[in-house]
Amino acid sequence: MASMTRVIFPALAAIAIALAGCGNGSIDTADVGSSPAAKDKHTVKPQGPVTIDYTIIGTPIVGQPVAIDLQIKSTLGPQPITLSYRVNDSTAMQFTEAQPARVSIAASNDEAPSQQQVRVIPLREGRLFLNVAASVATEGGLLSSVTAIPIQVGSAPREIQDNGEVMRDENGELIRSLPASEN
C-alpha cells in the first residue's frame, strides 16, 4: 500500500547516516525509532488545503488498468471540490476509456473523507506519476492543491536525470560543473 502519510523519522535516520559518511561512523540513531527530541524533527513546506491520501490497488502491470483509491479531506468547509487528473508523460500512462478527466465531489472533513477511484493504464515500466489537482472556490478565489502520486510499474528502476558533470576541483573538493551560456 502506498500512503501519503509522512513518516518523519526515517528521514532523520537518513540524514544522520548521510552525515556519518567520511568514516565518522559514530552517530547514534538509536532513539530515532522511539521518542526523539522535538528539536530533532524537521519542517516541511505547506500542503494545500485539500489533502489526498491514496491507495494503489494491486500491482501495476503494463497494459493493465490499475485502480487508485483516493481519500480526500478539505479544511475549506462545505464547498464542493473539483478533482482534475493529469498525466505529464502521455507515453508512460493513459486513462481508461471510462475515466473522466475531471469530477466534482461533495465537501469532506477529517472524520469522513470523500472517496474517489481513478483508473489508469501504465504503458511502460518505471516510476510513473499521476497528478491529482483538487480545487475549491473560496471567497479569496480558487484554491488548488496538487498531489503527485508515484506508481511503480514493474521492477524498472527510477529514471535518473543527468545534470552537469561531477569532478574534483584543484583542492580536491567535489563539485558538480554546470555549463554557462557566455557572451
Binding site: 518523519i8 528521514a11 537518513a14 552517530i27 505547506p46 479544511t75 492543491s145 563539485i175 558538480r176 551560456s181
Partner: protein
C-alpha cells in the same frame, strides 16, 4: 550522541572555512588580487570583467506551472567568482560578485589561457556574516544505507557554473556568464544550470531583507541540497538516492533540502517555498522555535508552536520577496492577504501569516490600515521571543511586540489579533492566560497549565482527534504545555505517569502502550532543554539539572504514540497523565 553529530558537523564546517582562508592566503602569495595595475615584474596585464547571472522562471497566473515565456535574467549576487588557469585548473583570483552580478579581475596576464567559474556559495567575502552552500545530495547508484557509507552530506558536490576557456589577449575584455534553465521549449533539454543559483540568490534576498533591519545580522552556516533527482517519497527516505520527504529544513543540522524532479515537483524557482524554509532556518538560528514541524495542511488547527513557525515562514517569505502571492507551482497557490481556510485562531498558520504580513505591509485592506515595518518584528523575534519564559508561540511574540510598540502600533496589532480571533489588548500575555479560542477541540486550554515544582501532581490530557491515524503528532491538543514555578534552586525528579488505561491489543507486537515524553525549557537559556524521552511504557521519569527559583520554566508533554507511525490503529485518541516535579533530597 546527537549532540556529537552536530559537533562533528560544526567542526567540519569550521575546517572548510579554515581551508578557504588558507586558500585565500595561498592565492595572495601567488599574486592573486583584485586590484588594478601591472604585476610586480612589469608583465603586461589586462582586466577581465563582466557580470554573472541566472535565468529565473516565474509561475503562470494560476500557479499551476512555470511560465518559461516570462523568463527573466537576474544577477547572481554575492557568489564566489573565480578566474582559473585553464592549463593547471588553479584559481588565479577570486572575488564575490557584486549586487548587480558584476565582477572584475585586474592584473591578469596577457595572452593567458583562463576560464571563469561561479561557485554556488555565499561567503560574505570571507567575513563571518554568512556562509551558504548549494550542494547536490544525490549520488547515482548510491544509497544512504551503503556500506561503506557514502560521502558526508557536507562534502557532497558543490554546484559550480563553468565558462569555457579563453585567451586573455592584449586588451581588457568583458565576459558575461549566464546560468540558463535548460528548457528546450516543451521539456528540459539542457543542463539545469540556473536552478542552484536561483536558490542561492533567493536566500541572498532573505538575508538582505534582514540586513536592512539589522546591518550587523550574522547568519550561521547553512547547507542547501538540491538535485534534479530530488523527489518526494512517502516513506523510506534515502537522501543519497534523492528520495526526500519534500522541501524541508532540519534545524538540528542547519540543512535545507529542496525538490527538483521534474516528473514530480520542482521548487528551485518557487522562491516563496525557499524563503519559507529559510524562515525556519532564521527561527532556528536567530530566534527560537519549539516546533516539531511535520506535515501541515493549510487551514488545519495545529499545535501552537507549529502554527506560529509555519505562519512565520510564509510571512517572512512574502515580506522578503515583497510578494503576497505564495506560489508552490503545481501544488498550491494563494494570496496571503485574502486566504482563508479552517477555523481562525492562534492554531491556524493562515491566521498567523496574514497577521504578520498585515503588520508589515503598507497596503490598507479592511482592518489593516497601517504598518509597523519589519524592524519591530525582527527585534522581537531575535530578542524577547528567543528568551521568552513560555513556549514560543504567537502569544509570546504578540505580547512582547505589543509592549514595544507605540499607541498606533498597538492599535494595529490589536485589530489584527481581533480579526484572527486571538486574545488582544491588556488581556494578552505570553502564557495565553486569557485565551478562550480552543478551535472546538478538547484538551487545549489553558495553553500553559500552571504547576508548582513541589511534588504536587497535575493531571493533563492530550488528544489526537484531529490527527487520527495520520500520526503527524502536530495538531492542536496533541501536546500540552506547563508553566512551572520553581520554589528553590534544586534538581528535581520529574514524573509523568499515564493514567488512561491502554489495554493491549490482540497483536503482541502492537505498539499499544503509552509512551509519554516531556521537555522542560529554560526560557532564559533556551538551548538548555532537559528532556525525558525514553521508550519506557506508561511513564517517564528523570532528574533535571539544577533549576533556579528566580526563573519560570515551561514544559511540553506529549504522547509519542500520537506520532508513532506504527502505533496500534486502536490506540486511544485521548490520553491523560499525572505530572509532577519533586525537589530532591
Amino acid at each position: 550522541m546527537r549532540a556529537s553529530t552536530s559537533t562533528y558537523f560544526v567542526n567540519l564546517r569550521h575546517g572548510c572555512m579554515a581551508l578557504s582562508a588558507l586558500c585565500m592566503l595561498a592565492m595572495a602569495a601567488c599574486g592573486g588580487s583584485n586590484g588594478g595595475g601591472n604585476q610586480g615584474g612589469g608583465q603586461p596585464t589586462v582586466t577581465v570583467s563582466g557580470t554573472v547571472s541566472y535565468e529565473f522562471v516565474p509561475p503562470n497566473g494560476s500557479c499551476t506551472a512555470l511560465n518559461f515565456g516570462a523568463t527573466v535574467t537576474r544577477p547572481i549576487r554575492g557568489a564566489t567568482v573565480q578566474l582559473i588557469n585553464s592549463s593547471t585548473s588553479v584559481p588565479i583570483s577570486s572575488m564575490a560578485s557584486g549586487a548587480n552580478g558584476s565582477y572584475s579581475f585586474s592584473n591578469v596576464p596577457q595572452n593567458a589561457g583562463v576560464r571563469l567559474r561561479v561557485r554556488a556559495e555565499l561567503k560574505d567575502g570571507g567575513a563571518a556574516g554568512w556562509d551558504v552552500d548549494v550542494r547536490d545530495n544525490f549520488i547515482a547508484g548510491a544509497s544512504d544505507l551503503d556500506n561503506p557509507a557514502p560521502p558526508a552530506l557536507t562534502s557532497r558536490a558543490l554546484y559550480v557554473l563553468d565558462g569555457s576557456s579563453f585567451n586573455t589577449g592584449t586588451s581588457d575584455l568583458t565576459r558575461d556568464l549566464t546560468a540558463a534553465t535548460g528548457w528546450g521549449g516543451s521539456s528540459y533539454t539542457g543542463s539545469r544550470s540556473a536552478a542552484p543559483f536561483a536558490i542561492l540568490d533567493t536566500i541572498y534576498t532573505g538575508m538582505q531583507f534582514v540586513r536592512v533591519a539589522d546591518p550587523n545580522a550574522s547568519f550561521p552556516a547553512l547547507d542547501v541540497f538540491w538535485s534534479v533527482n530530488n523527489t518526494a517519497a512517502s516513506a523510506n527516505f534515502d537522501i543519497t538516492a534523492g528520495e526526500i520527504s519534500t522541501s524541508s529544513y532540519y534545524p538540528d543540522f542547519d540543512m535545507m533540502f529542496l525538490l527538483g524532479d521534474v516528473m514530480d515537483d520542482t521548487d528551485e524557482f518557487d522562491d516563496n517555498v525557499v524563503v519559507h524554509e529559510w524562515g525556519h532556518y532564521f527561527e532556528d538560528n536567530l530566534s527560537r522555535s519549539e516546533s516539531g514541524g511535520g506535515a501541515h495542511t493549510l487551514g488545519e488547527s495545529l499545535d501552537a508552536t507549529v502554527a506560529f513557525s509555519e505562519g512565520w515562514g510564509t510571512a517572512i517569505a512574502a515580506m522578503a520577496l515583497n510578494e503576497p502571492i505564495y506560489c508552490d507551482v503545481g501544488v498550491v497557490g494563494f494570496d496571503i492577504e485574502t486566504v482563508s481556510a479552517g477555523v481562525k485562531g492562534w492554531y491556524n498558520e493562515l491566521s498567523v501569516m496574514t497577521l504578520l504580513y498585515d503588520l508589515w505591509d503598507t497596503n490598507n485592506d479592511g482592518t489593516d490600515n497601517g504598518s509597523i515595518g519589519f524592524g519591530p518584528i525582527y527585534n522581537v523575534m531575535t530578542g524577547p521571543q528567543a528568551v521568552t519564559e513560555s513556549i514560543a508561540t504567537l502569544f509570546s511574540f504578540a505580547a512582547e511586540l505589543r509592549s514595544s510598540l507605540n499607541a498606533q502600533g498597538v492599535a494595529l496589532l490589536d485589530s489584527q489579533l481581533d480579526r484572527e480571533n486571538v486574545v488582544s489588548g491588556a488581556a494578552l500575555d505570553i502564557w495565553a492566560t486569557n485565551e478562550s479560542n480552543d478551535a472546538g477541540v478538547a484538551d487545549v486550554l489553558p495553553l500553559h497549565t500552571p504547576m508548582v515544582a513541589d511534588g504536587s501532581v497535575v493531571n493533563i490530557c492530550v488528544n489526537s482527534s484531529l490527527d487520527g491515524l495520520n500520526r503527524h503528532g502536530n495538531n492542536i491538543g496533541e501536546d500540552r504545555f506547563l508553566r512551572i514555578t520553581v520554589p528553590a534552586d534544586d534538581e528535581y525528579d520529574v514524573s509523568v505517569v499515564t493514567t488512561t488505561p491502554t489495554p493491549p491489543s490482540a497483536d503482541p507486537n502492537d505498539r499499544d502502550q503509552s509512551d509519554p515524553d516531556i521537555y522542560i525549557i529554560r526560557g532564559a537559556n533556551p538551548g538548555q532543554i532537559n528532556e525525558g524521552v525514553s521508550a519506557v511504557a506508561n511513564s517517564e521519569s528523570y532528574r533535571t539539572p539544577l533549576m533556579f527559583a528566580n526563573e519560570t520554566y515551561a514544559a511540553i508533554v506529549e504522547e509519542w504514540r500520537f506520532e508513532d507511525p506504527v502505533a496500534s490503529v486502536s490506540y486511544p485518541q485521548t490520553i491523560c497523565f499525572d505530572v509532577s516535579l519533586t525537589p530532591t533530597p
